[in-house]
Symmetry: C2
Subunit: 204 residues, 2 copies
DNA sequence: ACCTCGCCATGACACCTGTCACGGGTGCAA
DNA sequence: TTGCACCCGTGACAGGTGTCATGGCGAGGT
């Protein structure tokens, strides 16, 4: 069986999505059966088209690729997921694997390797960028508490503490305490730098 | 002549680059003759392979696509440039056109339109996303002075004023003056928000 | 020559931030 | 029960930040 492997593509950039489809269509054993541009369309498309492997981008409107991966794995355990993303942030890799992804490749890997990665995932193997795996180990999981993450996320757009506090229904002092803790854990000196570092590490 | 249009692809993400090559290779009148992953490799590749049209991403290591476009146009006025970028920021469009680009498409346009855009550029026409063009008009050019842009760029990673001043060989007070002006021009209240807005607008 | 504009700088002021110490509350595991 | 970690809050303090007034310099345009 499995003369051809059925694929679903999810990427918010239509041009990239179509280009990946063209690339994968060159392989005689691969077939793109569905394309979606939003994370919250993935589950329905899987149910309708029954792919063998899903290629999911992380940053998408609706829900992100990580959540979409978890949803697909929960509803269709036989469907495997390969996360294909722009940013090789260690936290992304860890969270993707926790969500049940079988593989994780960044978009600056050579195009010739994508089809092989798909085949490996199809065969039940794991595909993980080796350099990213080591980075993930040294950086480890996020040391931020849930509330610290919330506050740091709210601080991403540079609003003053008062606005953050209002949006989260907290006291200004509490926000500053959480920010201070996050600043310490990221090894930075301002909340802006802490937010940037946490985002790069995939902690938020 | 011009049985086929010769193309150069420049994108830092190898997977996207290869996928675009596969997509364009489906068109019988188009031929990808060169691929590069860095902005500072574009000029040499143009000189060597003599493409008719260059597809340049903006964000690349080395020099960005805008500068690469200007360099190509200066050295090879007969080579046309189509900027293909992720972010449809109005400032990018304006700067790309100033640099001599013949076209500007964002990566979430349908894949089927890319080949047509390339043909239009090849024919000497301009290709510009219409909604982006209107946004560019309403937002206008950057109101920031050169120094304000420098300071705001240096403020992007959240360093304190003292670090910015040291990096730019300025006094702390001067940095704060420039930041204050930028905050006023962006309609924000903190330098972090000003930097974010300026980046979204393509002003920096 | 004059004026305007950008650039750099200083000083002063009100305000915001980052840090610390402290307390009270919850939930969870030893 | 006793810790322990997380959450929320207050108060206080040093230092950073945003704003303004003011001044000097040089490059353009009238």
């Amino acid at each position: 069986m499995s003369g051809t492997t059925r694929l679903l593509l999810a990427d918010d950039q239509a041009l990239v999505r179509g280009a990946l489809a063209a690339l994968l269509a060159l392989e005689p054993d691969l077939e793109v059966v569905a394309e979606v541009g939003r994370g919250d369309e993935v589950l329905a498309a899987v149910a309708e088209h029954r792919p063998d492997v899903c290629l999911l981008d992380i940053q998408m409107p609706g829900i992100d690729g990580i959540e979409a991966c978890a949803a697909v794995r929960a509803a269709h355990p036989d469907v495997r997921v390969l996360v294909v993303t722009t940013f090789g942030r260690p936290g992304y890799l860890r969270r993707a694997l926790e969500a049940g992804a079988s593989g994780f490749v960044v978009k600056d890997t050579p195009a010739t390797e994508l089809a092989e990665a798909v085949r490996r995932v199809r065969a039940g193997l794991r595909v993980v960028d080796p350099v990213l795996a080591t980075e993930s180990l040294v950086d480890g999981a996020s040391p931020l508490t849930e509330r610290e993450s919330d506050v740091l996320r709210a601080a991403l757009d540079g609003e003053p503490v008062s606005a953050i506090a209002a949006r989260l229904h907290l006291s200004g002092g509490t926000v500053r305490n959480h920010l201070s803790a996050a600043i310490g854990k990221t090894g930075t000196r301002t909340r802006a730098a802490a937010a940037r570092v946490a985002r790069e590490r995939g902690w938020i």
